[in-house]
């Protein structure tokens, strides 16, 4: 029996943030980041000996084009007990996402064979600025952080990517692009800023993958 939750309820917004992160990881690219525009409906079910399940109806927007939105339904299951298991998330998108092949390919070709590997810090900067040529790097981090957020969320956390402290491109002999990121995650519930290292792989046809990630001690971001 699933109970209807008020849309502004803290548990509903945490589940929605988690679902959005997961979705963004699965569908995002350097040309497409997705953010939660609004929560349309939320229901919660207590499943004995299993955990808590949320049924959500979300409206998502394209980070680069706020007028481009898509509706989606998602189910989030937080497992009881063992905090080392990531929540299960399933989703269905209603409608199409904008095609980003052209932007993705331009970025891919720009970065693929550099004279010097890309290195950058503090994206956005203190004033919220992102240089235009860094926007795909930022979106890639946004997408990849969706993975980290998904893997580490509980009903008592609400993570967002706060800033990229440092990013370094890693040269590869195959067709993939690889980046080492040091990001800062913000947990709205505890208000903590958590540094996290992640290695991200991407190829226009193969999507985004986080191959390594590790939480860092608080003063590691320098």
């Amino acid at each position: 029996a699933a109970m209807e939750l008020p849309l502004s309820h803290s548990l509903a917004s945490r589940a929605a943030a988690l679902a959005t992160g997961y979705l963004c990881y699965r569908r995002g690219s350097p040309g497409r980041g997705l953010a939660l525009r609004s929560l349309r409906r939320a229901r919660r079910q207590d499943i004995n000996d299993v955990g808590h399940k949320y049924y959500l109806e979300l409206e998502l927007e394209d980070v680069l084009d706020k007028d481009s939105t898509v509706n989606c339904t998602a189910e989030v299951l937080y497992h009881l007990g063992n905090k080392n298991i990531a929540p299960d998330v399933q989703f269905t998108l209603e409608g199409e996402l904008k095609n980003t092949d052209e932007a993705d390919n331009i970025f891919y070709n720009r970065i693929k064979s550099p004279e010097k590997e890309l290195v950058a810090e503090n994206i956005p900067d203190s004033h919220g600025n992102v240089p235009p040529e860094m926007e795909p790097i930022r979106l890639l981090a946004w997408v990849a952080s969706g993975y980290v957020i998904w893997q580490n969320s509980t009903e008592n956390t609400k993570f967002q990517l706060a800033q990229i402290k440092h990013v370094k491109q890693v040269k590869r002999s195959d067709e993939y692009l690889e980046f080492d990121y040091m990001i800062l995650l913000h947990d709205m519930v505890s208000q903590e800023i958590i540094p996290w290292k992640m290695t991200v792989l991407w190829h226009p046809q193969h999507g985004v993958q986080v191959t390594q990630d590790s939480r860092q001690p608080k003063h590691a971001s320098g």
Partner: protein
Amino acid sequence: DQVFHIVPKTFQQVQHLQHLCSTLLLDLWKPQLPEDIRTGEDLHIRVSAPLVQEVKDSLDHHMISYKVVIPDVQKLVDQSMPKERSSDRQVPEGYIYTQYHPMGEIYQWMTQIQRNNSELVTQHYLGKTIENREMYYLQISQPSDKTKKIIWMDCGIHAREWISPAFCQWFVKEILQNYKSDPKISRLLQNLDLYVLPVLNIDGYIYSWEKDRLWRKNRSPHMNGTCYGTDLNRNFNSSWGSIGVSYNCSSETFCGSGPESEPETRAVAHFIERKKSDILCYLTIHSYGQYILTPYGSTTKPPSNSEELMHIAEKAAAALMGKYGTSYKVGSTSLILYSNSGSSRDWAHMIGIPFSYTFELRDNGTHGFLLPVEQIQPTCEETM
């Protein structure tokens, strides 16, 4: 304006390019002079926007191949311009409300605002921060023979929430620019006094400019200077230390060594306590999340006037949405955000101030604390 890169292949091409440069007075970046243009060597020229098409046509006509290496010179200039922090920029007429300002400039701004609007504005000392800096609030008060009720608004209790002090400054500017012409503001000032504290956590704010952009707390030292900062919004005497806090200094929600342990908290609390019978409304401005929060955070039991509080908050959120479509969630903190104790909003209500709200401004997390400067204006306009 665009910058072209050309490598002339023949002497005819060189001649044509020299001709073009001198007749159209193009800006040669490399080489410096037309007579130094050579075959096989790089030529960089800046072409002003109105001439771009003409130059391209001419190059095409003469089969000179070119590459546009900078498609928009102004954009590049704007991006690379270092933020000017000179001391000539504190005059309010020239004060840029659509940028974030460091504390030194905010202090100067307060002085100027009072000086330029002395019939309405007075600056008052509130107390000192832990690092010995002076805290001031601005009182906006239309002279009258009746005592008026007070609306208190403080910004910047959490250092990293830069949009908050930006909003307090904007608010003051809007009131002062429009109180004569705008009937709503004029009526407001006839009946109410406004007290605005632009930055409550001054030490923390400065620290977020100079050392750690995402710092939240104040800068009080603990454990022999090995750990810093109390969360000022957990330090007020409202169910202090009971829930949603940490007793560990290294946490972002460390509630301090006791209620009102911090000088910043005491400065505000003592003042508000003294004036409480005249204070109608307590507002505290934060970011991010897009919420209008009502008491309490420490318990889900609703305050005595909760219906009225919600009704007003809902009207405010609707008005806000009417401006740019930004949607705010409204409700009690413990239900829609998280449990916390020791917040200034809860404390204000508990001592008897009927209307007490926390505003969490833009955005929803896409930029979070690092709200870009382009959003300062729309955020402030809709919140106004």
